[in-house]
C-alpha cells in the first residue's frame, strides 16, 4: 500500500509540470496582455492613459519579456520562495487574494455538499426500494428539472422574486450594518440566513444527479441473490438494505469524492457571480478575462494539485471500502 502511494506521488511531478506549462500558455493566448486590456478599459471609461504613463506601466509590469522567461520566473518563485506572484487586477499578492476568497467559498461548498448528501441519499434509497411508486415518479421528475435548469437562472429568478415581493436585496454575503466590520459572532449569525440561498441552489442541481446514481446502483444490487437470501433468512428489511446493498451503491460516490476537494475551493462560479458572493469562482473568471496571469495561473495550479491529491485519496478510500479491490476481484 505504501509503495502504491509513493508511486502515485512520484507520478504527480511530471503531470504537474505539464499542467503548469499548458495553463500558462493558454492564459497568454488571447492577443495582448493584462496591460493592453487595462489600457483599453481606461480608454473606454473615459480616462485614457497618456503615452508617458503607458511606458512607465510597461516597465513596471515587466510584460515585455518573452513568455518562457516569465514562466520560468513564476515557477522558480513558487518552488523556491513559495511566492505565487502578484495579481495585477487586485494589486496584491496572489496568496492574499485567494486567501480572502477561500473562507466564504469553502463554507458554501461544504454546506452544499452536506445538504446534497442529506437530501439525495435517502431519496435515492427510497426511489430504488419503492420503484415505480408515485413518490418515485415525483422525485425523479423534480430531479430532472433540477438537472436541466441552469443554476444562474434559478438564482436570478429567486433573487428577483424575493426583491419584487419584499424589496429585500438578497445578494451579497453581509447586510449593510456588518459590511466592512471585523468578523464577530454577530456578523456570522447575520451571514447564515444569506447562505441559505446559494447553498440551496447549488444543492438542488447536484442532488438530482446523485439521486439517479444511487437509485440505479441500488436497483442493480437489490436484484442480487444475497438480498433474497437475507430476506428469506428473516433479516429486517431496513437492516438488510442499509447494511449491504447501500454500501455497494455508494461506491461511485466514494470514487468521485476526490473531486470534492478541488470543488471545495473553486466553488460554484455562476451562482457566486449572480449572487455577488465573494467566492473564488468569480475571482478566477475575472482573472481569466483580464489575463491576470499570475493569479489565474497560480489558482489553477492549486486546483490541479488538489485534483491529483483528491483522486489519490479516493483511490485509497475505495480500496479500503471495497474488499473486492483489495483482494484483486473488481466489480462484476
Amino acid at each position: 500500500m505504501l509503495r502504491y502511494i509513493a508511486n502515485r506521488l512520484l507520478q504527480f511531478i511530471p503531470i504537474l509540470i505539464a499542467i503548469t506549462i499548458i495553463v500558462f500558455t493558454v492564459i497568454q493566448l488571447p492577443p495582448g496582455n493584462y496591460l493592453t486590456s487595462y489600457i483599453q478599459q481606461m480608454e473606454l471609461s473615459g480616462t485614457p492613459l497618456s503615452d508617458s504613463e503607458i511606458s512607465i506601466l510597461e516597465r513596471q509590469y515587466g510584460l515585455d519579456q518573452p513568455i518562457y522567461v516569465q514562466y520560468w520566473k513564476w515557477i522558480t518563485n513558487i518552488i523556491l520562495k513559495g511566492d505565487l506572484g502578484r495579481s495585477f487586477q487586485w494589486d496584491a499578492p496572489v496568496t492574499e487574494v485567494i486567501g480572502d476568497h477561500l473562507a466564504a467559498t469553502i463554507l458554501i461548498s461544504i454546506l452544499s455538499l452536506i445538504v446534497t448528501w442529506i437530501i439525495a441519499i435517502p431519496i435515492g434509497i427510497y426511489s430504488a426500494v419503492r420503484q415505480y411508486s408515485a413518490f418515485d415518479y415525483i422525485f425523479t421528475f423534480i430531479g430532472f428539472i433540477g438537472m436541466a435548469m441552469p443554476t444562474f437562472l434559478v438564482a436570478l429568478v429567486i433573487v428577483y422574486i424575493v426583491f419584487d415581493t419584499t424589496g429585500i436585496n438578497l445578494t451579497g454575503l453581509y447586510s449593510p450594518e456588518f459590511q466592512g466590520q471585523p468578523m464577530s459572532l454577530a456578523k456570522l449569525v447575520d451571514m447564515l440566513p444569506r447562505l441559505v440561498l446559494p447553498v440551496l441552489i447549488v444543492a438542488t442541481t447536484s442532488t438530482a444527479g446523485l439521486i439517479r446514481v444511487i437509485r440505479a446502483m441500488l436497483l442493480d444490487e437489490l436484484r442480487k441473490q444475497y438480498v433474497v437470501t437475507a430476506r428469506a433468512k428473516g433479516l429486517s428489511e431496513r437492516k438488510l438494505i442499509i447494511k449491504y446493498p447501500v454500501r455497494v451503491a455508494i461506491n461511485p460516490m466514494i470514487s468521485t469524492i476526490g473531486w470534492v476537494l478541488p470543488g471545495l475551493i473553486s466553488g460554484e462560479t455562476v451562482v457566486g457571480i449572480v449572487l455577488n458572493l465573494p467566492t473564488s469562482g468569480q475571482m478566477l473568471m475575472r482573472a481569466l478575462m483580464f489575463q491576470d496571469m499570475y493569479l489565474a495561473g497560480s489558482f489553477l495550479l492549486i486546483l490541479s494539485v488538489l485534483i491529483l491529491i483528491g483522486t489519490l485519496i479516493s483511490d485509497i478510500a475505495l480500496a479500503w471500502l471495497d474488499p473486492r479491490i483489495r483482494f484483486g476481484g473488481g466489480i462484476k
Binding site: 488571447p30 473615459g46 516597465r59 487586477q89 453581509y174 449572480v274 455577488n276 465573494p278
Partner: protein
C-alpha cells in the same frame, strides 16, 4: 446669523457679477502684478471670485465628526485663502448651502478601482466650471497668469495649503515634482506630451522656474494657449502630476533615500534590485490610482481619502485638510463618508440600484425603464448628456485593398454612406429617442435615392446576379465591419449593415474581442468599424487611427512609416493640433473650423450626438446640477449634501 446671510448674499452677487463680466471682458482684468521680471502685461486668467470670499467669511466651520479628534482648529487647517467652490457654472446649478453628514455609496465592477469616484475625488491645479472650457479659475493653485504670447504661465500657490496628513504643501513639493520626477530620465522615460509645447509629441518640454515661496513659472518655447485646458481638465488632469508629497516620496527616490534601504524595499516589492523607479511609481499615487487600495496612507489633497478595504468594499473618509469651502465658510465636503461596492456582474449592479442600495452612479441607458419603474425605492433616475457621440462610422481609407481604397477615398462614396444611414431610426431604436440628430460634423439627411444615384455615378452601377453592386472594375465588392461589444455598438452596427445592404453594397459584420480589435486597428487590418467618440471640443480628437491607419502612422513616426496623407487630411491634422494648442477662445474657433472641414470631406460619419445616459441619485441628495453633462456632476461631488 443675519450678518452671515447678508455677507453671503453680497458675496454671491459679487461672484455672479464678476463671473459674468469675466466671461466677456478678460482683457480688462488684472493688468498688474507681473510676477516675472521679464514679461510685462501678464494677464490673470483666473477670475477674482476667490478673492471676494475669505475676507467676507466671518468664521469657518467644520463637519461635526471632526470635533474632538484632536485636530488643529479649522482655520489653521484651511489655507489662508481657501478656494470657494465653483464646480458648476451658475446656469447649471442653483447652489444651496449644505449640511454636514451622511455616506455616499457608489458601485464598481473593477476589483481595485472606481472610475466614478476617481472623478469625484480628482482635483486639478486650475478648474473650469461645468467642464465647459468657458471659464478658468484657480483650484489647487490660487491663481494663474498668462503672458501676451501665451508662452509663460505663472502660478501662485495657496499659502497654508496642507496635505491630508497635516504637512504643509510648499514650493519644494513642486520642485520635487519637476526636478526630481519629471526631469529624471529613469522615472520619466518619455516626457508627457501635454507638458510639451503645443502638446506635440516632439515639442519642447516645458521649463519650470521657482520664483519664490509661493510662485513658480512654466515657460514654453512657443505659444501654447491650450495649456490651460490641458491642465484644467484634459485627460482628467490632476494636481499630483506636478505637486507631489515630497516628505513621503523622498524615501523611495534614489537621490534622497538610503541606498541599501531602498534596495531592500525594491526587492521586497518584487522588482529587480536596480529598478528603484518601479517601486517609486508604485508608491506614487497619480491620477486614477487614488481609488486603488495602494493609496491608503498616501498624502492627498482630495475631498475624501481611502482609509480601508474590507469585504469587497472600499471605505473613504473626509480629508480634514481639504482646501475648499462654500460661500459661508463651511469646509467641504458636506458628506463625511463614501463607499465603493464591488459588483460581480451587471445584473447585480442593476439589482443594487433598483433596491436603493446606490446613492450615485451613471449606468447604461439600456435598462432605463427598469430604473424608472423602481424609483419608489429611494432614488431618482434622470437622463443627462453623456458627452459622447456613441457610434461613429469609420471607413478605413488606407485599408490594404486597392479597389476599396479608391472607393473609400472618394468623397462621393462616403456621402452615399452618410445619406443611407437613417439616423432617426437609430436614435429611436437604440437610444430610445434620447439622442440628437447629427449636425456638428455631418448632415442627418436620409436620402437613399440620392445615395443610390451617387453610387451609380462613381461607377458602381453594375450588379451581380444576387443584386449586389459590383466595383467599378466589375469585381465582387464586400464591406466587412468589425466591432467589439461595448454599450450599444453591436445593435447599431447591425442597423448600419442593413442600410448598406439596402443600397446594394454587400456588407457584413463580425464581433471580435476588444483586445483583438485594438491589435487589428493598429495593424491596419480593419476595413470598417463603429466606435464612440467623446464630444468635448477641447479634446481635439480626430481618431485618425480608425479611418486612416497608415496616415496616422505617418504622423506618429514623422514620415518614416505609413503613407503620406492627402492634403485635406494634413490640414485636418494641423487644425486638430490647433484646437489643443490655442487658448480656449481661439481653440473653440479652431474647433468650429474643424467641424466645417469634416462636413466637407466626411472623414468619419457621426450617427447620433449628445446621447444621454441615466444618472441615479439618492432622492435626498442635493446640489445635483440640473444641467450639464453627466460626468460634470461627478466633478462637483464635494458640493453634494443630504437633506433629511
Amino acid at each position: 446669523m443675519r450678518r452671515n446671510r447678508f455677507f453671503s448674499l453680497i458675496a454671491t452677487l459679487l461672484i455672479i457679477s464678476l463671473v459674468l463680466s469675466g466671461c466677456f471682458g478678460n482683457a480688462n482684468q488684472n493688468n498688474n502684478n507681473a510676477a516675472g521680471p521679464s514679461n510685462n502685461n501678464q494677464q490673470s486668467v483666473t477670475e477674482n471670485t476667490n478673492n471676494v470670499g475669505p475676507s467676507d467669511i466671518a468664521t469657518y466651520k467644520q463637519s461635526p465628526i471632526l470635533d474632538g479628534q484632536g485636530l488643529p482648529p479649522v482655520e489653521e487647517r484651511l489655507p489662508v485663502e481657501p478656494k470657494i467652490t465653483n464646480e458648476m457654472a451658475a446656469s447649471q446649478l442653483n447652489y444651496e448651502i449644505g449640511r454636514y453628514g451622511g455616506k455616499m455609496r457608489t458601485v464598481t465592477t473593477s476589483p481595485n478601482s472606481n472610475g466614478e469616484l476617481f472623478v469625484m475625488l480628482n482635483e486639478p491645479l486650475i478648474n473650469t466650471p461645468g467642464l465647459l472650457g468657458e471659464e478658468i479659475t484657480g483650484n489647487v493653485v490660487k491663481d494663474i497668469k498668462v503672458n501676451a504670447d501665451e508662452t509663460e504661465f505663472t502660478f501662485t500657490m495657496r499659502e497654508g495649503l496642507k496635505w491630508s496628513d497635516g504637512v504643509p504643501v510648499t514650493i519644494e513639493d513642486v520642485r520635487f515634482g519637476y526636478e526630481d520626477v519629471l526631469m529624471n530620465p529613469e522615472l520619466t522615460p518619455s516626457f508627457p506630451a501635454k507638458y510639451k509645447t503645443g502638446a506635440h509629441a516632439d515639442g519642447e518640454p516645458m521649463e519650470l522656474e521657482i520664483i519664490d515661496e509661493q510662485t513658480f513659472k512654466i515657460t514654453f518655447s512657443e505659444s501654447y494657449g491650450g495649456f490651460l485646458m490641458q491642465i484644467s481638465i484634459q485627460g482628467w488632469e490632476s494636481y499630483n502630476r506636478l505637486i507631489k508629497p515630497r516628505h513621503y516620496l523622498e524615501q523611495f527616490h534614489i537621490d534622497y533615500a538610503d541606498p541599501d534601504e531602498l534596495k531592500k524595499l525594491t526587492v521586497e516589492a518584487g522588482y529587480e534590485e536596480t529598478d528603484w523607479f518601479n517601486l517609486f511609481h508604485e508608491k506614487d499615487i497619480v491620477g486614477s490610482e487614488v481609488t486603488n487600495a495602494a493609496s491608503i496612507g498616501f498624502p492627498v489633497l482630495n475631498p475624501w481619502m481611502l482609509t480601508r478595504v474590507a469585504d469587497n468594499i472600499q471605505f473613504y473618509e473626509r480629508n480634514p485638510y481639504y482646501f475648499k469651502v462654500d460661500a459661508e465658510g463651511n469646509q467641504l465636503p458636506y458628506i463625511d463618508y463614501a463607499e465603493s461596492h464591488l459588483m460581480s456582474d451587471n445584473e447585480m449592479l442593476n439589482l443594487q440600484i433598483i433596491s436603493g442600495g446606490v446613492d450615485y452612479t451613471r449606468p447604461g441607458i439600456v435598462d432605463m425603464a427598469l430604473y424608472k419603474q423602481n424609483e419608489s425605492n429611494g432614488y431618482i433616475a434622470e437622463l443627462r448628456d453623456q458627452h459622447s457621440r456613441p457610434g461613429n462610422i469609420y471607413l478605413n481609407q488606407t485599408f490594404e485593398d486597392e479597389t476599396w481604397r479608391s472607393l473609400a477615398q472618394d468623397v462621393r462614396f462616403r456621402q452615399a454612406v452618410n445619406l443611407a444611414v437613417n439616423n432617426e431610426e437609430i436614435i429611436d431604436a437604440i437610444y430610445f429617442g434620447y439622442a440628437d440628430l447629427p449636425s456638428e460634423f455631418n448632415t442627418s439627411t436620409y436620402d437613399p435615392d440620392e445615395a443610390n444615384r451617387l453610387l451609380d455615378e462613381i461607377g458602381m452601377d453594375q450588379r451581380d446576379n444576387e443584386g449586389f453592386r459590383l466595383s467599378p472594375d466589375g469585381e465582387r465588392f464586400d464591406i466587412q465591419f468589425e466591432v467589439f461589444v461595448a454599450a450599444e455598438i453591436v445593435p447599431q452596427t447591425e442597423l448600419i449593415v442593413e442600410y448598406l445592404n439596402d443600397l446594394g453594397l454587400r456588407t457584413s459584420m463580425r464581433t471580435i474581442d476588444q483586445s483583438l480589435w485594438n491589435t487589428r486597428i493598429a495593424a491596419n487590418e480593419i476595413q470598417a468599424t463603429l466606435m464612440r467618440m467623446e464630444d468635448y471640443w477641447w479634446q481635439g480628437d480626430i481618431k485618425l487611427d480608425r479611418w486612416g491607419t497608415l496616415w496616422h502612422q505617418y504622423f506618429a513616426t514623422n514620415g518614416e512609416q505609413g503613407l503620406e496623407p492627402p492634403v485635406e487630411v494634413k490640414q485636418l491634422f494641423d487644425k486638430a493640433a490647433e484646437v489643443k494648442n490655442k487658448s480656449p477662445e481661439d481653440g473653440l474657433m479652431a474647433f468650429k473650423e474643424l467641424q466645417e472641414m469634416v462636413k466637407e470631406h466626411l472623414f468619419f460619419i457621426v450617427t447620433a450626438e449628445k446621447a444621454q445616459q441615466p444618472v441615479i441619485v439618492n432622492e435626498n441628495l442635493r446640489n445635483i446640477p440640473h444641467d450639464g453633462t453627466a460626468i460634470a456632476i461627478n466633478f462637483a461631488a464635494e458640493q453634494f449634501f443630504y437633506t433629511d
